[in-house]
């Protein structure tokens, strides 16, 4: 009998966001709409000089299905203080904003004081 290894993946639901505009996630179109965003424990290998755990793949889930994915920048609350000039979302809240004159959509989720920044180019 064929046996399969089962990888246990830690999935953390970060919250639900609504995109008013279609965007590009990991190079693929992501239609506007409401998505449940969940973080995986999969992170890209950091380049030399970059911190561990500073990036993590997140998934866009809609209707119980993952419809898109992207790498989110993970910033602790302390680091965020030194970095962000704008007000950050409240704990366990999120915010969607546009950047660079509407070229980007940023999804900023504060999950238990850990900030997930997801920058998506706006679909043209």
């Amino acid at each position: 009998m064929k046996q399969y290894a089962v990888l246990a993946t830690l999935i953390i639901v970060l919250g639900s966001v609504h995109l008013t505009r279609a965007a590009i996630a990991d190079g693929k179109p992501l239609p506007g709409g409401t998505y449940t965003i969940r973080a995986t424990d999969d992170e890209p290998k950091p380049a030399i000089g970059q911190s561990q755990n500073a990036e993590r793949w997140i998934e866009f889930v809609k209707g119980g299905k993952v419809v898109g994915r992207e790498v989110a920048t993970v910033v602790s609350a302390d680091d965020m203080k030194a970095m962000a000039k704008a007000a950050r979302p409240k704990a366990n809240a999120s915010r969607v904003e546009t950047l660079k004159g509407g070229d980007y959509v940023r999804i900023w989720i504060n999950k238990d004081n850990t900030n997930y920044l997801i920058n998506l180019p706006v679909a043209k």
């Binding site: 380049a47 030399i48 000089g49």
Partner: protein
């Protein structure tokens, strides 16, 4: 007359010796000149005609000849004709035994009457005292036999020939007819001769004759004998002979001590007759073949000539018997001539001296290294090998580059700024003979390899410019390279992703570059070697549309600038 003859003899011999001395002794004669022509004398020994020479026949050689001699005497106006047969044999190249038999002696006395009372011409001849008739007819005469010993010989390279001669006259002639005294005579002579320049042979002799006294007469007990002559050309087929010879009796008179001497005509000889210092001049020509056979004819006359008193003679000519003919024929093998000895064979070549050491000088130029970068040095060294261990001097030369000590065996050579091969030549010289040797080594001058410095980028977290330990390890490699190469300068480029405004990103990139610069400076790199520039979000190296790649644009890059 004798004094003149003696002087002539000595002078001639002196001249001949001088001329002979001028003969180049080093000129070897032809092979056929091992002997030279010679003839006999009337007495049989080797000589000119009547005058002997001091040379003798070779050992075992012999000669033979026949003579007709005519002699005129004033006493009785007498002519004596002798026909002689001679012989001689050589002994050990040093002597010869010879003899002459007067086969026929006939005397013609022209005085009329036979004797007159005049001691000069009317008496008897001491040599033929008993002649008392006009014509004796043919009679066997005396027999002369003698020996001649050669003391010096030109054949032995003596300057002249010297010999002594002893002679005995055996009275074989009929004394009662008057062709002999009937008594033996003994004579001794010394002889000198010389052939000059292979042209003239000169000879002279002198001696004394001891005469036996015939019965009934008192005659001179002896006589001094002399003679000189020459023959010319001495080695030719035809040769002229000239002679003077004579005798000087020991007494001017001869006396009849016994019975009176009465002529056939009844005339009586005076008791005392004058003797004569007979001097005879002879000129002759001899022809001689190469084999030694000769024939000669000549004429003799007495010196001085004295005219006959015509009243005492029946000869129509007053001078007719003052001259007489001489003839001879014979064989003489010649005498030895000096032969320049063959040069001794050259000595065997001496062992050749060892050749002077061949001086071989070589040199080998060496370089270490033989390929240098521009401006770098190479050690050039000469290795000389010299067969005579000469203390050589060195001289380095090169068209380009710089030699530190060109007169040393080994020196540093600094490469020029141009690439390419450079011949570096060393010349070694041996001062003792200036022998030189050279060698050249080519040193390749190269540009230093362009070292490519590639430093890894260092990455930053989002919106951060602080360096993490992993980044500093990368930068430490750059620091080492900068320390190793002082010519190395670095431009530090700061980059960002495109999140945020361009101005912000430009500033962020500048801070990232500055962070790197500050770290390098903190590790000892001169700030002057570092330059920073921020490109911000410009010139993204990776795709900014996806975060997976966008994050790699948050970086600082070190770009090497080589001077």
């Amino acid at each position: 007359m004798f004094r003149h003859a003696l002087f002539a003899t000595v002078a001639t011999l002196f001249w001949a010796s001088s001329a002979g001395a001028q003969t180049p002794a080093s000129t070897p004669p032809p092979a056929d000149e091992a002997t030279r022509p010679a003839t006999t004398t009337f007495l049989g020994d080797t000589g000119l005609w009547f005058v002997p020479t001091a040379e003798v026949l070779g050992a075992g050689q012999w000669s033979v000849s026949g003579y007709r001699r005519g002699t005129n005497w004033m006493q009785g106006y007498t002519n004596v004709a002798d026909f002689a047969g001679t012989f001689a044999v050589g002994i050990k190249d040093r002597a010869e035994i010879f003899g002459s038999l007067l086969i026929d002696t006939r005397i013609d006395r022209d005085l009329r009457p036979t004797f007159v009372n005049d001691p000069d011409v009317g008496g008897f001849i001491d040599r033929y005292p008993k002649v008392n008739q006009y014509w004796t007819g043919d009679n066997v005469g005396d027999f002369y036999v003698g020996a001649k010993v050669n003391l010096l010989s030109e054949s032995r390279h003596d300057p002249l020939a010297v010999a002594v001669r002893g002679l005995v006259k055996l009275p074989t002639g009929k004394a009662d007819v008057g062709v002999s005294t009937g008594k033996p005579d003994f004579s001794f002579d010394g002889i000198l001769s010389k052939e000059a320049a292979k042209l003239v042979e000169v000879s002279g002799y002198g001696g004394y004759e001891f005469r036996g006294s015939p019965d009934g007469f008192t005659i001179p007990t002896g006589a001094f004998r002399w003679g000189t002559g020459l023959t010319f050309p001495s080695r030719k087929f035809a040769r002229f002979v000239g002679e003077l010879n004579g005798q000087m009796p020991s007494s001017a008179t001869a006396t009849i001590t016994g019975a009176a001497l009465t002529g056939v005509d009844g005339s009586r000889s005076p008791l005392i007759s004058n003797t004569e210092n007979l001097t005879r001049a002879t000129l002759g020509l001899t022809l001689q073949s190469k084999k030694g056979f000769f024939f000669g004819a000549g004429m003799s006359w007495n010196m001085p000539t004295r005219a006959r008193v015509s009243g005492f003679t029946d000869e129509p000519s007053v001078t007719g018997d003052y001259y007489d003919w001489q003839f001879r024929i014979g064989y003489h093998p010649g005498v030895k001539a000096y032969v320049v000895p063959a040069p001794p064979p050259p000595p065997p070549p001496a062992a050749e001296p060892p050749p002077p050491p061949v001086h071989t000088l070589t040199v080998k130029a060496q370089c270490d290294p033989c390929s240098v970068e521009v401006g770098k040095t190479s050690t050039v060294t000469a290795v000389a090998q010299d067969s005579i261990n000469c203390a050589v001097t060195y001289r380095w030369s090169a068209p380009t580059g710089t030699l530190a000590q060109p007169a040393e065996r080994s020196t540093l050579w600094t490469a020029p700024g141009q690439e390419g091969p450079v011949p570096v030549t060393v010349t070694v010289t041996c001062p003792s003979d200036n022998k030189t040797a050279s060698d050249t080594v080519n040193i390749q001058v190269t540009r230093p390899p362009v070292k490519t410095y590639v430093f890894e980028d260092v990455y930053f977290d989002f919106d951060r410019y602080s360096l993490r330990p992993e980044a500093t390890r990368v930068l430490d490699e750059a620091i080492n390279a900068l320390k190793d190469n002082a010519t190395l300068n670095v431009t530090i480029e700061g980059y960002t992703c495109n999140i945020g405004t361009a101005e912000y990103n430009l500033a962020l990139g500048d801070r990232r570059a500055g962070a790197v610069r500050d770290y390098l400076v903190s590790r000892g790199v001169a700030v002057g070697r570092l330059r920073t520039i921020s490109y911000g979000e410009e010139k993204p190296k990776y795709d900014d549309s996806r975060e997976e790649t966008r994050r790699l644009n948050r970086r600082a890059a070190l770009v090497v600038n080589l001077q």
